[in-house]
């Protein structure tokens, strides 16, 4: 009984104190994400070695000359890892950009147009979402060839379906509110309503979803590259580094550990940012 009382007191104090400071998760996530971004930026002006340069012995462990050692061909692992950060961010950002732009437009169109267009779009989105994104990516790669662009297009299209469905549902909810009716009766046009009422109410939810989808896209691109269906050399992604290092994991474990750790840092970072944003925008979910 005392425990019950304590639990109840907790919920009461939680409801009373909706603090709006930046959550710790978002801060940690932003730092992790920042590390990868900085490494990617630095890779444009400084690399320890040209990533494709062969020399310095094969499969050497970490040393002063090669911070993370070398791969089976004698290439510097740290340099390849730094270039991989660019690929991972490009894949995530590219797919997210396609998904966000196309998805929001499609979702708005569905929510604002006649019933039959809306129904048709909703059915297509349902089918697209049922089609797993990795398979869609494999299909596009089979048709267009294994390039980074193929991967970005495929993952972006898969994300479009998710974003469009979300946008459609939320926009309809916003459109049915009384303040939109008020805006309409006072003569605000469609674009005025979108700009002034729909987008500002939509973007908090959208930001959370996009952050999560960014991480998923990075993981999917790594999977494709690991399967040999991603960007071809010399633009080695972290996935293809892992593919190469797998055969020599026993003799040179660093090569098989470092790219995985890099992936975890990036994806964990974006996931934490997403969680933090959700906490920030939705105080009722703070204790989750």
């Amino acid at each position: 009984m005392t425990q019950l009382a304590a639990e109840r007191r907790d919920t009461v104090t939680d409801r009373r104190a909706p603090r709006r400071r930046i959550p710790l998760t978002a801060l940690v996530g932003a730092i992790l994400l920042g590390i990868v971004v900085v490494v990617a930026l630095v890779s444009f002006i400084y690399l320890p070695y040209p990533p494709q340069q062969i020399g310095g012995g094969r499969l050497t462990g970490p040393s002063a000359a090669h911070w993370l050692g070398t791969d089976a061909l004698g290439r510097d692992l740290a340099s390849q890892l730094m270039v991989g950060a660019r690929i991972a961010l490009a894949a995530g950002a590219g797919a997210t950009l396609i998904g966000a732009v196309l998805g929001v437009i499609l979702g708005l169109v569905a929510a604002f147009t006649q019933r039959w267009i809306d129904d048709g779009l909703a059915a297509i989105l349902d089918i697209l979402i049922a089609f797993p994104s990795l398979l869609l990516a494999m299909l596009v790669v089979a048709a267009r060839g294994a390039t980074l662009t193929s991967a970005i297009i495929a993952l972006g299209l898969a994300m479009t379906a998710v974003v469009a469905r979300l946008t459609r549902i939320y926009t309809k909810r916003i459109l049915s509110s009384q303040y939109v009716t008020a805006a309409r009766t006072s003569g605000t046009g469609v674009f005025g309503i979108i700009g002034r009422h729909v987008l500002p109410n939509l973007w908090p939810t959208l930001a959370v979803i996009l952050a999560l989808q960014f991480g998923l896209a990075v993981l999917a691109e790594a999977s494709l590259s690991y399967l040999g269906l991603g960007a071809p050399p010399p633009n080695a992604s972290w996935g293809s580094l892992l593919r190469d290092a797998q055969a020599t994991v026993y003799t040179a474990p660093v090569g098989a550990i470092a790219p995985g750790v890099a992936l975890v840092i990036l994806v964990l970072g974006t996931n934490l940012v997403a969680d933090g944003l959700r906490e920030l925008f939705d105080p009722t979910r703070r204790q989750r």
Partner: protein, 317 residues
């Protein structure tokens, strides 16, 4: 009820047809002739023409589509460009690896996630809940194939406990041997899947634990365990079934990737070699059977959820 099943069946068939059309259009409308995959570099024009006749790519595209769609409807997946074997039986053979791998890994993941998610929710305000949340965060950020590589490194190469790759030559006629080879792939998928499942279980349990009716039963004198067992478990199960459907599909795709880590002869390795060799019938076959499985799982999840929740039964029309 009957109308609901019929409607879902129509959705399933339409989705499958859409996936089939999408697959066909994307693979055939893009530049490049599939006959190139059949002939070696430097083949004479006659050889290429013969190859085109053999696979029918000399016909106009609409004609090709009708022929192909007709055979699809009769469950004839065509023959592989590369091996010359029929795709249908090959797919069934590969499924006998991928399907058990998926289902066993999924079952293990649920067995881990159920209790862990419950404990994480029950003690969400203590350090126990915090530790669980942190571990789960790592779990959903980890690439599944990397876990596989690390497990091979630790348990096969370092410790020499388990085989690193492949399956026994006898396949399933040697069940014990087969299972031994599946331990690491199953562990790989289960570790990653249980992380995301734990989060869903925890979230569903938190909703129930914070609900008014559970507090009510406790106020009436029921212990927490009794109140949760008699009144909470079903409420947890309802939102979880729809999630489980999606997660089962994700597990299946995880299996497709993980098979390549462990060189298992399943659907995953089949489609990767198929793409590398431009073997269109094989690619189409794998994509279609995968889509079909994902759709069926989605249907079953939706149906189970409506069966479990009386409030949703009204929508079974």
């Amino acid at each position: 009820m009957l109308a609901y099943v019929l409607r879902r069946a129509v959705f399933l068939v339409v989705s499958l047809a859409a996936a089939a059309v999408l697959t066909f259009v994307l693979l055939r409308l893009l530049p490049g002739d599939p006959a190139n995959a059949l002939t070696s570099v430097g083949a004479t024009p006659e050889q290429i023409a013969a190859a085109r006749r053999a696979i029918g790519s000399d016909q106009p595209l609409p004609q090709q589509f009708v022929t192909w769609f007709g055979s699809m409807v009769r469950f004839d997946m065509g023959t592989s460009f590369i091996s010359g074997l029929e795709v249908g039986p090959e797919l069934l053979q590969r499924l006998s690896v991928t399907l058990p791998l998926t289902l066993i890994a999924f079952a293990v993941a649920i067995l881990i996630a159920g209790p862990v998610g419950f404990v994480a929710a029950r003690y969400s305000r203590s350090w126990v809940g915090l530790v669980f949340s942190a571990v789960a965060q790592f779990g959903i950020a980890v690439p599944v194939f990397w876990v596989g590589i690390l497990l091979v490194w630790g348990f096969s190469l370092g410790w020499r406990l388990l085989p690193p790759s492949g399956i026994p030559t006898d396949g399933w006629s040697d069940p014990a041997g087969m299972l031994r080879f599946l331990v690491l792939p199953v562990a790989t998928i289960a570790i990653v899947m249980s992380a995301s499942l734990t989060r869903y279980v925890r979230s569903a349990c938190l909703d129930v634990i914070g609900s008014g009716y559970l507090t009510n039963f406790r106020a009436l004198g029921a212990s927490f365990g009794s109140a949760f067992w008699h009144h909470g478990v079903k409420s947890v199960a309802v939102p979880l079934t729809s999630v489980l459907g999606i997660e089962l599909a994700t597990t299946f795709l995880g299996a497709v990737v993980v098979e390549n880590v462990f060189a298992l002869p399943g659907l995953g390795s089949l489609i990767v070699t198929g793409i590398a060799q431009h073997d269109y019938p094989t690619i189409q076959g794998v994509l279609l059977i995968t889509t079909l499985l994902v759709l069926i799982v989605g249907f079953l999840a939706d149906f189970t959820q409506k069966m479990l929740d009386p409030r949703l039964r009204g929508t079974l029309i």
